[in-house]
Amino acid sequence: MSDTNEPLVRFVDVQKSYDGVTLVVKKFNLDMQKGEFLTMLGPSGSGKTTCLMMLAGFEPATHGEIFLQGQPINNVPPHKRGIGMVFQNYALFPHMTVAENLAFPLQVRNMSKSDTEDRVNKALDMVQLGEFGGRRPAQLSGGQQQRVAVARALVFDPDVVLMDEPLGALDKNLREQMQYEIKHIHENLGITVLYVTHDQSEALTMSNRIAVFDDGVVQQLAPPSTLYEKPENAFVAQFIGENNVLSGNVISIDGDSCHVDVGNNRSVHALKVNVNNVGDTSTLSIRPERVVLNPGSEYNNVFEGKVEELIYLGDHIRTRMVVCDDSDFIVKVPNSGELGQLREGDTVKVGWKMEDCRALD
């Protein structure tokens, strides 16, 4: 590569329509660096899988260019792109053994028999399935099939590995275990991964960066912590993690902060994120764990809350309250051992800091 900063994968103004009436992907731009683990996260139908399929070459882009290592690949057929792919149902070939499945990409590249064997064995060891080479995929458990699928997508050293909801069919425990395994493989081999999921915790666990999709548009592209701490709009705030929402009108703007009237002359002091003018409507986003009961004087926002429902969750008590007319206001009260402090129907003071309350569109 001549330019070390050149992105490995590049989408430029990519649009996609299946029916010529609606756009499934509206102006998608993305630069992906070598070695990155990037996740496209979004609800189903948001266009994330379509983007993946366009990169893999199974769907043509309606408009725009896709570059791989600086080369436009719109007219390159899938088998010449050198992109590994892990499918949701694994797509292991049922008529071949595990070893034959892994050898397939090497055989179609006319690799010598001994090299093929070496690579297959190495790949099997990498996913801890050394003894399973002679089995058929149907004789493996879901997790093992998943590992074979990952190994097969990696065995021919592709430039990029695409994963399309690969853990969707596994149960919760196995899914979490596989998340770590894939993350470790990524770290150990330094491969570039483009991952698609609708599971936010999966995205947060594994990714360097996450692109949150909705309605064919990337709402925010940022590292996991930024997405959670500093969502740029109401959709991202809602989609990533739990979120309390208050809505109102901006009454004053003061540098980085602003005051928002949430009704009944209650003014909330909030961080100005994307409100511009006094009088705009705004959605305030406050994370449940940033709200405290009986706040001290350092808290700028203090309001009355009426306890509606208490749910015991072990490490914390999830408390649903009515705060500023919002009856779905959730507060996570840490379980400090003093159970029974709160009763349904109690009225308590709740408070949060200005920095933890973001005024969004």
Binding site: G57, M85, A91, P94, P105
Partner: protein, 422 residues
């Protein structure tokens, strides 16, 4: 853990208890299949078995001529002499008894017909003799009397055949079915080359069936593939078109092919009018093997499409995509990944079409002409026209054996578990 058998809480052995619990389900399963099982047994299995028995059955010869059969067994064929007077006397007694018998199975003319399959001349010999006995019979000495009625009674070769076929079971139908028979010396041998028909017919039947199966596979594969990838609304519509032939009578469809393919038919006329062929050289596409193949491919095509479709429908498109993303060209992806996964459908379709083709009767009978008739037509001819049911049964039994043999070969090569009919 001890090796003592497990018991339930009240002490019954677990196996007994489980057997009791399962018995009800077993009885219910039996009751569910019982009506169909009885139906098949009565209308299919028993008739076929009795038909197959006919291929070796010779009982009514010995039944009609019991006294002759007893005495003739002791006659030494190779002596060169005729049987002695006692045999002729027994024969006369048997003929006499046959003329007055009311039983259907006791009929000297029928026995003559039976012997006539082995050696021509028997039919007229027995009919003539029977007529004489109906008018009152003959006086001793019987040997001279019989030879007077028909001089073939004095020919030891005829007696040799009679002695052989007096036995209750015979292999002569099977020998005839493979173009063989007994020589005048009583040896089994192939017929003269000009008189061999059935082996050639078996060969032709297998060949044409195989060809039809291959053509069906070639035609059905792309159609089934298209059906499997289309949206269900379009594919359902196309599926109706595939099944449309089943809604029309087989006779109508075959007649339509006659109208299309005959010498003055639609296709020839069109080809002549656009000048592809000239009027004197119209193509012969019907009443020969070509006609049989074309019409039967059309009739049997759905039997290939349906199993192929049902298998292809279950192959996720991600297999092909995975193969492509792993670096396989579309052709390699198809041959190495897609096609091996359709083998169960190919197997099922091929075996269905082949077995249907090998026993097909009506289409070759209508459009087959001389070169396009199959073994089933010959079986039908023996059942309906020549009334040689024993030979028909033997030909059918051999066909059945051939099908079973092919089935075993198929099982060996493809594996019958690998077949998927739907």
């Amino acid at each position: 853990m001890s090796d003592a058998p497990l018991v339930t809480v009240d002490g019954t052995p677990l196996k007994v208890s489980l057997g009791r619990a399962k018995r009800k389900a077993k009885i219910r399963a039996l009751l569910l299949v019982a009506p169909l099982f009885l139906f098949i047994l009565l209308t299919f299995f028993i008739p076929i078995m009795s038909m197959l028995l006919r291929s070796v059955d010779n009982e009514n010869v010995a039944y009609t001529l019991p006294n002759t059969a007893d005495l003739l067994a002791e006659w030494d064929v190779d002596s060169g002499d005729l049987p002695d007077e006692a045999v002729f006397a027994a024969l006369a007694a048997d003929f006499k008894a046959a003329t007055v018998s009311k039983e259907d199975d006791i009929n000297a003319t029928k026995v003559g017909t039976r012997f006539n399959y082995e050696k021509s001349g028997f039919r007229s010999m027995f009919r003539k003799t029977n007529k004489i006995f109906e008018k009152g019979g003959v006086e001793p000495p019987y040997k001279e009397a019989f030879i007077k009625i028909n001089k073939r009674w004095g020919d030891a070769d005829y007696w040799r055949v009679m002695q052989r076929e007096m036995r209750g079971k015979t292999d002569s139908y099977y020998l005839a079915a493979v173009d063989s028979g007994y020589t005048d010396d009583g040896e089994r041998a192939m017929n003269k080359p000009g008189k061999r028909i059935y082996l050639k017919l078996y060969g032709r039947t297998l060949g044409i069936s195989l060809l039809i199966t291959c053509i069906c596979l070639l035609l059905a594969y792309p159609v089934a593939y298209l059906l499997s990838i289309l949206k269900s609304r379009t594919s359902n519509l196309l599926m109706i078109l595939v099944l449309l032939p089943f809604w029309t009578s087989l006779l109508v469809r075959t007649s339509a092919w006659i109208a299309l393919l005959q010498k003055e038919g639609v296709i020839n006329s069109v080809l002549v009018s656009i000048g592809v062929i000239d009027d004197a050289n119209r193509l012969l596409m019907i009443h020969n093997a070509t006609g049989t193949i074309i019409a039967m491919v059309h009739v049997l095509l759905p039997f290939m499409i349906l199993p192929l479709y049902s298998v292809m429908k279950t192959i996720p498109p991600s297999y092909m995509r995975a193969a492509r993303s792993l670096g396989a060209t579309p052709f390699t992806a198809f041959t190495k990944v897609y096609m091996p996964n359709t083998v169960p459908g190919i197997g099922a379709g091929a075996i269905l079409v082949f077995i249907l083709a090998i026993g097909y009767y009506i289409t070759p009978a209508l459009v087959g002409g001389q070169s396009g008739t199959l073994i089933s037509n010959e079986i039908a001819r023996h059942l309906e026209t020549s009334l040689n049911w024993g030979l028909a049964a033997a030909l059918g039994a051999l066909l059945l054996v051939a099908v079973f043999a092919l089935y075993l070969v198929y099982d060996k090569i493809v594996g019958i578990d690998n077949m998927k009919l739907g």
